[in-house]
């Protein structure tokens, strides 16, 4: 359980959502295994995890599109576990393009309002406002086949928001788009979510997306919530081996742990809570915490250097054949080239370790 009175980036008009000990089986597969999350009003929670971890099942259960076998879902304090999807008032943007092909952009956005009995003029006005909000005010009469993937997902977002839903559910809405549109649209979604102040559950398998968008990020594995925390905390202070290895890049460096520290390449690194505490371990060290110094008698040999714009990433082979990745600014990497000898050290930043 988590603190629901937290400050979130949005303007605070949303409702609280609570998953309580949810279970879902698909035959022998335990898709949700005791999932409990509390989401504060107006908060954007990003659920992150590998394929099949249960994140989409959780989202579909909240949307009423899938049943749960056990547990409860509360929205604004009201139990909606058995309420059918069409009575839940949830706005959903799907991974697949889901605009109705037989309707124009405006009719798509107005469809939910039509179902709510809003009269023609009012619903068209509202639909146009929503299309304006997502930057498609000039495309109201276009059919989905006349729009690009990014435009279609914008219309889908407008359609989801037009009904003024209690919760916005985003089921990997950017995964079908190319990298440029993806980045642009995720910033737009976040801007609109903060402006509207709607409580949002965002499901993704893209770490960058989750860390960039979420007020908090929940990492799921095998139907369980491994950890939920603010992006920086999740990255810097993982609580389980899965989170430590799944989120961000990590080096697995053999070392020995004693009394809450682990000696890695000559540096005593404090161990995070939940780490293997003693004996031979694999220390999980972030690339940005690895330091390379050019030295003719250095133990490491540079295997490759990748230029990433303002950053560089170098792969270094240690004498025991362990491959270590170091990340540094482009200027720091100027003296590195494949075959160069380097001394490898790590910073004493707290790290996670798993038994080897």
């Amino acid at each position: 359980m988590t603190d629901t009175t937290r400050t979130v980036a949005s303007n605070g008009h949303g409702v609280a959502v609570s998953f309580q000990d949810m279970h879902r089986w698909y035959g022998p597969v335990h898709a949700l295994n005791g999932l409990s999350i509390d989401i504060a009003p107006g908060e954007l929670i990003a659920l992150l995890g590998p394929s099949g971890c249960g994140k989409t099942t959780a989202l579909r259960a909240l949307g009423g599109l899938d049943d749960v076998d056990q547990g409860r879902i509360l929205v604004g304090g009201r139990d909606i576990t058995r309420v059918p999807a069409n009575k839940r008032n949830m706005g959903i943007v799907f991974q697949a393009y889901s605009l109705f092909p037989n309707m124009t952009a405006r009719d798509n956005v107005a469809y939910g309002l039509r179902l709510r009995g809003v009269d023609g003029k009012a619903r068209n006005r509202k639909a146009e406002e929503m299309l304006e909000l997502v930057g498609l005010g000039q495309q109201t009469k276009r059919y989905p086949y006349q729009m690009s993937g990014g435009q279609q997902q914008r219309v889908a977002l407008a359609r989801a928001l037009a009904i003024e839903p209690s919760v916005l559910l985003l089921d990997e809405p950017l995964s079908a788009l190319d990298a440029r549109v993806r980045r642009q649209l995720r910033e737009e979604i976040r801007r609109i979510q903060i402006m509207v102040g709607i409580t949002t559950l965002f499901v993704t398998h893209d770490q960058e997306e989750a860390l960039a968008m979420g007020d908090r990020v929940g990492v799921m594995s095998a139907g369980r919530l491994e950890q939920i925390a603010e992006p920086a905390e999740l990255y810097d202070r993982p609580r389980t081996p899965f989170v430590a290895e799944f989120v961000g890049l990590t080096n697995r460096i053999p070392a020995t742990a004693t009394n809450g520290t682990v000696a890695v390449l000559g540096t005593d690194v404090p161990l995070l809570e939940g780490s293997a505490a003693a004996g031979p371990v694999l220390a999980l060290i972030r690339p940005e915490n690895v330091r390379l110094t050019a030295a003719d008698d250095g133990a490491g040999r540079v295997a490759a250097v990748s230029f990433l714009g303002s950053l560089c990433r170098a792969q270094v082979t240690l004498p025991d054949e362990t491959l270590v990745v170091a990340q540094m600014s482009a200027s720091e990497a100027s003296g590195l080239y494949p075959g160069a000898s380097v001394a490898v050290t790590v910073l004493p930043t707290p790290a996670f370790a798993v038994a080897s």
Binding site: G64, N86, S98, F100, N102, P144, Q151, I163, R180
Partner: protein, 298 residues
């Protein structure tokens, strides 16, 4: 002079024009494609001949007059023969009922199967294709007692030839299933249904307002196939002693073969026209699922 990877040679001409040498084998390629075209046209002529020749023979036969003359008397006689008119009317009524019944039964079932129980798709497909594997005579033997009971206990309704619609609904399932299934596969039915439901639509609205308009092509194809099958159905109507179009044509064939062939040809032409109208104005390929639009720049 330069050589391009494609093997063609080009040289600058004195007056600024370009001389382009024909690539090796270009003439052979052209001859080959001409031969291919000839073969295609020949195949087309043979196939069309195979299909059109019987129709032409029917037209020739049904327009024969005395002493080698041509007449449309047989076609005019159709309109004066009450049995033919009744047969046509009955068959059309049965066709309409069959189409309505088939769509009401099949569309919601198939949508539900795709969206909610995809693992049942194979079972539904098997059940729908089953009538194709059962000979009509077997179906009649099985269903005759039911029709006898209906005739005895349901009065005029039970004895009406329109009850043939029930059996025809089953007979058209294999064809209708294929047509509608192809349409359902061309759209993301499950996601569209989820989207409609999340916006507040119940199942009936989801099917009628969202799914049906997007599988219109398949529905029209299924309807055309059903109408064609009903207009051509003879065995079951005859064995159950109902006077449908084909039964009337058969009886006429024994009395006046010219009118019988004229009615058959007219029925075929009617079915062709119907097929053309449906595919031209409703059932043809739909651009809505084909276009791809590039992301706008910036």
């Amino acid at each position: 002079m330069t050589a391009s990877p494609g093997g063609s040679l080009s040289a600058a001409a004195p007056q600024g024009g370009a001389l382009v040498a024909r690539p090796k084998g270009a003439g052979r390629g052209r001859r080959g494609s001409r031969r291919q075209l000839t073969v295609r046209v020949a195949i087309l002529i043979v196939v069309l001949g195979y299909l059109v020749l019987p129709l032409f023979a029917m037209l020739e036969f049904s327009t024969r007059g005395p002493f080698g003359s041509r007449t449309l008397d047989s076609y005019a006689a159709i309109l004066n023969d009450q049995n033919v008119i009744d047969g046509v009317t009955t068959s059309l009524q049965i066709a309409v009922l069959t189409v309505i019944g088939m769509l009401v039964l099949l569309v919601p079932t198939m949508v539900w199967t795709v969206v909610r129980v995809p693992r049942m798709r194979r079972v539904v497909e098997f059940l729908c294709l089953l009538p194709r594997a059962i000979p009509a005579i077997v179906i009649v033997v099985g269903i005759a007692p039911i029709y006898r009971w209906m005739g005895q206990h349901l009065g005029a309704i039970g004895a009406s030839p329109l009850t043939l619609a029930f059996i025809n609904i089953i007979l058209v399932l294999p064809f209708a299933y294929r047509a509608i299934d192809a349409s359902l596969r061309s759209i993301d039915t499950a996601t569209l249904a989820d989207a409609a439901r999340s916006l507040g639509a119940g199942w009936p609205r989801t099917i009628v307002q969202v799914i049906v308009p997007n599988i219109r092509g398949g529905i029209l194809s299924a309807a055309v196939l059903a109408i064609a099958l009903v207009l051509g159905e003879y065995t079951i109507s005859s064995l159950l002693a109902f006077n449908t179009l084909q039964v009337v044509i058969f009886v006429l064939g024994q009395q006046d073969p010219f009118i019988s062939v004229a009615v058959s040809l007219a029925a075929l032409v009617f079915a062709f026209v119907l097929l053309f109208v449906f595919t031209r104005f409703g059932g043809g390929p739909d651009r809505r699922f084909q276009a791809e639009v590039e992301e706008p720049a910036g």
